[in-house]
Each structure stands twice: as structure tokens, then as C-alpha cells.
Symmetry: D2
Subunit: 272 residues, 4 copies
Amino acid sequence: MWSRKTCVCVKMKVGLFGFGKTGKAVATVLLQSHEVDLCWVIRKTTNLQHRSVPEFLGVKDNTQGVIFSKDEYTPEELFEKHPVDAIIDFSSADAVLNYGEEATKRGICIVTAISAYPETTIEHLKKLSEKTRILWSPNITIGINFLMLAAKILKTIAPYTDIELIEEHFKDKKEVSGTAIKISHTLGLSYKDIKSVRAGGIIGRHELIFGFPYQTVRLIHEAIAREAFGNGALFAVKNIINQKNGFYCMEDILIPYFNLQITPTENSSPNP
Amino acid sequence: MWSRKTCVCVKMKVGLFGFGKTGKAVATVLLQSHEVDLCWVIRKTTNLQHRSVPEFLGVKDNTQGVIFSKDEYTPEELFEKHPVDAIIDFSSADAVLNYGEEATKRGICIVTAISAYPETTIEHLKKLSEKTRILWSPNITIGINFLMLAAKILKTIAPYTDIELIEEHFKDKKEVSGTAIKISHTLGLSYKDIKSVRAGGIIGRHELIFGFPYQTVRLIHEAIAREAFGNGALFAVKNIINQKNGFYCMEDILIPYFNLQITPTENSSPNP
Amino acid sequence: MWSRKTCVCVKMKVGLFGFGKTGKAVATVLLQSHEVDLCWVIRKTTNLQHRSVPEFLGVKDNTQGVIFSKDEYTPEELFEKHPVDAIIDFSSADAVLNYGEEATKRGICIVTAISAYPETTIEHLKKLSEKTRILWSPNITIGINFLMLAAKILKTIAPYTDIELIEEHFKDKKEVSGTAIKISHTLGLSYKDIKSVRAGGIIGRHELIFGFPYQTVRLIHEAIAREAFGNGALFAVKNIINQKNGFYCMEDILIPYFNLQITPTENSSPNP
Amino acid sequence: MWSRKTCVCVKMKVGLFGFGKTGKAVATVLLQSHEVDLCWVIRKTTNLQHRSVPEFLGVKDNTQGVIFSKDEYTPEELFEKHPVDAIIDFSSADAVLNYGEEATKRGICIVTAISAYPETTIEHLKKLSEKTRILWSPNITIGINFLMLAAKILKTIAPYTDIELIEEHFKDKKEVSGTAIKISHTLGLSYKDIKSVRAGGIIGRHELIFGFPYQTVRLIHEAIAREAFGNGALFAVKNIINQKNGFYCMEDILIPYFNLQITPTENSSPNP
């Protein structure tokens, strides 16, 4: 008999595609989580081949996470020799074209954060999602996606408010923030009204202002580090692993959290 | 036959208890709304008796809104001679003890924003709510109540975040903001951890900080003027008038707006 | 012998031109100050003629402040019968053309906050300032002017920073904030880079962002009410009354406050 | 003959004590600067001995910067074999006791950011500063020190304002921010009134609120990364190298930037 404290949860086995700046940050978060085992990382080049991920990143962890190069295995060999429950993809737009068929055949759940998928790849992903759970979100932080849904709701409650969107980033970011464009689109605002501040080393800040006649509501998201994407991917993988097959976005898995129940409180008890 | 644009909506008839600073601000908002008719205002003293509300407040309006003094009519006479669909109460804790029975007997809906009800009055209101719709909310602005619900949801999504609450008010406000205490209570925080800033003439600002490991979410409410209470009361009255009898709080009528549906979007189409 | 508490300071006698929304707010601040006596207010129309200012504004005050209409007296009669030390002008661009000569002849100090002076009037003011102290500032709040100087200094300290300017106002404000344009000009920024947020009932907010590579400094001014102009005018009048004749702006009287001395502190004691 | 553009400035030679997290960040900034040559770094341990600093940090740079271990040379040998104009110290409280005498004898300027000097070491530094320029600042960022001076000035301009200080840091920071305590002390506020927010991964944020009756001024500093200390140290070294001998703090070298001149502008031309 197991005591409660020593209960052994079976960790979810995860494989990661992509080991650039963001990939490394995501790997760090996965290694530090008690809920997943990072089994391997796939890298484009061969120069870190077979090194241990936790050792390379300087994270204390007992997992066996190993770095493979992209061409070391066929997808079939990879999933056969090193089976996983889920794939997290922070690599490039064509990676899934290679591993997708084989992964979905085995029911491996996929979370991908690639922003630049061409239309045909998106169609391919939708097709693949008939056999497994696939989540695609180019803005995979919890904070931004929460903000977007909360803002949508506030707009429904108070359609007469003026909504303004300010995004702030480091000076070398040339184009308007993709996240801001997504938010703007979601709220039915015009892309041209986004206020883009470019200053010094600001990592990323998005502020939504709801102007009521006699009050103002501000919803603000501040990025601190890329690791936030890791937390988002982890949240995504945990929330779709037990869903039915389909093609999801980050909003879809947040929506159930918004379905509040009217619960009788000390102030409130509607009669039956 | 009426074209859609010229459709004549019957306005809701409203009576207002209380004509202090907040009462006047609320009356101004009600007069400016196209959805309600402010029929009368009940005032404690007799010195503005029988004056026109729109004329006194300098608001252009065709309504007949008249100021009565508290002792001019019995509740029965008042509701008989000047019938209303709803009462909005910004007066004092004992007013409802006087008019409550008579109002609920006639099915008049009640929205009250009195903060200092003793426990016995709350019980009385609950009893009365068996025969009509009563909404009680000491923090009746839409913004604050939205913030509270949004924060509750974010806490469920990310229970590991640290939540901090800062409230800012004018220097002469001695005690901790009641609204902040309510928010703090709703989120299961300790009342003692509220940070109270007292500076100059700040009207009212509440900021909730959600600290994630690699991102920060801030939900901020800034009060501009008391008229915000008027918008809140108006929103409340419109939202409970067609509900079933019962005792409601502001959250109860906001919750339905939070029940988002997973709708297939271009990015997302879960298979059936 | 006077006890300390009853010591009679001779208050400065002040006259106010302009009694619109801003004029009334300024009058309220002047009435509440212990440093000036508001002797009279000049109004365009005759409909409040000879009423008491404190009584009209509901401010408890023992002063004799009276409302005159513009055409009741010639400037000569006005200053003769109701002498003042200083004039505060929140009326219109042509008022000073009428009273200016007579006022400066008597050495009456002038503080004017009119924004729309044509070039010829500005020249006229400069000419008049040979005989008295004239301060002209269309942005007469202490906060905004402090911000502008502090920003100028920070720009000198860190010329490599990116400076961004966001101004927020109520939705009906059509044009870019004049104050923002002034700030932008002072800092050598382009007028076109100002980010103008228009939302609900925001009274007025200016934010300057200094982006350093690894840190961000934000200087923010939030307007609460027009009375802020009264405090600014009061500060201006007190600070120029004893200066030599000349034409001043708000910055000129703030600059002396910026001339810090290197004082030996516990951490710092440069050798002689 | 050199054209102006190709003028060869002799770079300042700098040595760095300390190569922990902050030391590395400072080294990165120094390597990227065109104004200094980082000649060497002194490290406690021997495990990176003789490695190239730019190579280790992955910064492209032609300098010869080398890592030495603390015990490799006596101070005399170090300054003899590898002469520098200035020392920047981010190591520990006792380092200067070892190298101080020898450095000051040679007129090497010292910038130290150690926070935990005992009183006796401070006295020692003051004594040493008779022979060279020594700057000591535990809060060596430009932003924080600017904020402190700007706040001091605003307090003098408007002594009647309420000043509140909020500091925000990551959740594991147990004690009140030392920088906040310094700011609080500088402004004559009570240490106990500092509002300390602890949430998630916030790197460091300080907000000073000046509450006027009808306006609010906020001065905010947000830290993005430790490299900010490097920019501060660089600014310090450049600003004291040509000063007379003495013991300076960061404020001392910022103060000259605050000494604005009243310059005739289009709006302002005081008569002579």
C-alpha cells in the first residue's frame, strides 16, 4: 500500500523539437517540472549530439534527456526506440511535415508554437488531428491568452467602451508585435490603431485599455523571459492529452476555466 | 408597420432613493440613459421638494423626474401615485426597511448599493427576494466586478502564481478600501497583505498583480468619478429585471457573460 | 504683542480673469489658499454680477471676492477701486490687450495660461514685461513642467536612450494633446511619434518612457481635475512676485529648484 | 593629419574584480563599450584561469581581456605587469583591503558597487580617496540614481505632496529592497511605509508616487537585467576619471547634469 506522500505518478513522456534560444528555455522549464519527463531534444545540427540536456543546461535532474540531431533517426526509428506521449515543437515550419504522420499514427499528442506555417501545413495539421490531439498556438503564453479571453468578455459586457492597445518592445523589433495583431483581430479592432512603443531593451509588454465614461480598466501582460513559452507549452500539453482528437488553439483549453458557476455565497443565494 | 429603426421601446420606470453626492451622480447617469425613465428621487430633507431632477442637475431631459422628501408619502401612496418598475437605492441602511415590503408586494425590482447593512437587514432582503428580484452590491461598478471574476479565473488557471493587491486612494481615506477587502476575500488572500497607498487626491485605483515565474499579469481599475456607480446600477437593473425572483449580487449577473463557447475559428476546429 | 498663532501675514491680493469651468476651479483653489486674497473675478457675461465668489462656489472663506462683468469698469477704474498685486488670467486671448497696459503701469504681476495667443500678442507681452513680471504658460501644472525638466536632464545624462511619449485623454478629444506636443518639442522628438490614446473619460495622462538597454524609466503625469491649474497658477504667482521684471515661463521658475548642491553625506565626502 | 571622424581616442584601461553573475554581466557591457578596454578580470577560484573573457562570454571583441585567479599575483605584480587606469569592483567586501593601497598609490581610480562594507572599510576607503578618485555606490544604475535626485527636487518644489514608494521583486526576495530603503531614506520617508510586492519572477521595479491634490506624478524604474549595473559602472568611471581626488557617490556625478541654465527660448526671455 502506498502512502499518499509517496504515491508514484506516472510522468508524461515528452520529446522536444527545436533547441535554439527559445527551445533551450522551454527545455529548462520542462526539466524543472515534476509532471513531465523530457526524453529527448531534436536539434538541426550535430554539434551537441548525444549530450545530456540537463547537464548541458546546468539543471539538476535525473531524467535521461538526450540531444539528437535531426538526421540521426527516421521518425519511425525515433518513436520506436524512444517512445513519447507528446511532442512539443519550437523548431521550424517544415519539421512537422517530417514527423507528423508517424507521430499521429501512434496517437502522440502534438503542441506546436511555430508562427510561420503556410496555409497548406495548417490544412495538413487539421487532417492529422483526426487521429490525435494537436494544439497550435504561435502565442503560447498563458498570460496573453488569458488577457485575450478576458478582454473579449469585457467587450461583451460593455460594448460601448473604447478599447486601445499599446505594445512595447526593444528598439530593434521592426514590425508590429504579432501578438498585438492577434489581440487586435480577436477584439475586432483595427490593426492600424495599435500603438507600438520601441524603447531600449523592453522584452515585451502588452496593455489593453478599456475606457468607460467614468472608469478605466487596464489589462497588462509583461514578459520577463522566454521561459514563459515553456510554461505555456506545458500547460497546453497537460490540458489536451486527455481530450478527444481534434485541432485546438490555446484559447480552446482556457475557455473551460471561464465557465463559472453561480454559487450561493454569503451575499448571494438566488431562490430555486 | 414599424421599421426596425423606429421601433418604440417602452422605457423602464425607475425610482431612486438617496440624493447625496453619489445619488446625484447616479441620477445624472440615469437621466442620460435612453433605457430608463427616472420618475422620482426620494430625499431625506425637504429643501429641494418638488423640484425637477433634470433641471436641478442641469441635464437636458424630457422626463418628469421630481424630487420628493422622505416623509411626503407612505410607500403605498408613493408606488400607487408614481408607479415604477425598479428601485435603485443609494440612501441609507434603514430605507429599505420602510419601503421594502410594499415594493416587493408589487413585484418592483430592487437594486441596492448600501454597504453598511446589518445582518438582520440582509436576512430581511433575502426573505423579500422570494417575491421579486433584489440585487445587493456595495461595489456596484462594472469594472471592479469584472476584475474580481477575471482574477478568480486566472487564479484557477494558474494557482501557483503569487497574487498581490495594491489600492490607492486620496490621503484622507483612513481605512483600507472596502472594495480591496472584498477582492482580497474573493481571491482567498489575507486582508493584511493589501498594500494601501494614500496620496493626494487619487480618486480610487485597484491593481491586482499575478506573478508568474517568467511573466506578470496586471489587472487595474481606475475610478474617474462617482458616476461609475450609476452605470453599474443601470447595468444591474437591466440585467435582473427579467430574471426569476431571488437575491443576487453583481457577480451573479456578470457570470453569464463569462460562459464562452468554443467556437470553430480559422485556427481551431476540434473534430466532432 | 502678537502671539505666534495670530501673526498676521499680509496676503497677496489677486484678481482673476475668466470664470468658465477652468476659471471656477482656479478660483476654488485660490479661495482655499492661505497665501492669497482673491479680490475679484472678471466674467464675460453679466448674469452673476456682484455675487460673492466664495458663496457662489460654496467655499467657506472670509474674503470679499466679488464677480464683476467685463464691461463694468475700465481697467483704470478696476485697478484704482480694487487694487491687486497680481492678475491670473484664464479668460481669452484678447483680454490682456485690454488690461495689460494699465496693469503693467502699476507694476501688477501677470500670470497667464492662455494657450492661443497670436504671435503679435506674445510680442506685446514681452514688451509689457519690461515694466513688470509676466509669466506665460499654457501648461501651467507643476507636474507637467517638472516632468519636462526632469526628462530634459535624463536625456542629457543618457542621450542613447529611446524616448517614447504616450498621452491618454477622453474619447472626444480630437487633436493631439498640446501638452504632449510641447513635451515632444522640448525633448527634440518628432511630433508624429506621439502615441495618442483616446478612451472613455480619461481626464489626462502623459507618460514618458526612457528605454535603456537593460532598464526602463517611466515618468508619468495623471491629471485628476482642473483645479491642478489653480495650484500651478498659485505657485507661479508666488515665485515671480519678487523676481526682477521680465517675461517668464513655468520652466524658468522651476529651474532654480533643480540646482542641487553636492552636499557631504554619510556616504560621500569629496576632499577639499 | 587626422580627419575628425577617424580621430583615435585612447581607450581607458579597466580591470574588473568579481566574476559572479553580476560580474559577468558587467564584463559583457564593458567589452561592448568603445570607450574602455577590459584588460583583466580577477576571480576567486582558479577554474577559468587564463581564459579569454570575450571568448568565454561569447562577445566578439579584439581586447586581450584575461581571467586571473585572485591568488595568482600580488596587487603590486598585477598593476605592474597589467597596468590599468581604473578598477571596477563587484567582488566582495574584503577585496579592496587587499588591492586598495597599491592601486591608490598608483592613482588608479576605483569604482566599487559592494553593498556590505563594514564601517571600518568605508573609513579606509575615505582615507584612500585622498590620493585618488573613489566612487562607492551599492545602487549603481543610472535610472535609480536619477529617480532619487528627481524625487528630491520634486519634494522641494511641492513639499505638501504625499510620497509613497512601492517596490516589486521576485517572490524569493525575503527582505525589503535595499534600493527602496535608500530612496526612502533620501526622501525622509519612513522605512516602514515602503510597500513591498513579492510576485513570481519580477526582476525589480521601484515606483515613487507623488500625490498632489489634483494631479499625480509617478516616477518608475524597471530593471530588465543585471547588465544595467555595467552601464552604471561605466558611466561612473567615465565621470570620475578626470575629477579631483575624493570620495564620491553616484549622486555626486549626476548632480552637475541637474544644474540647468535659464536659457532664453521662444516663450521666455527675461530682460537683463
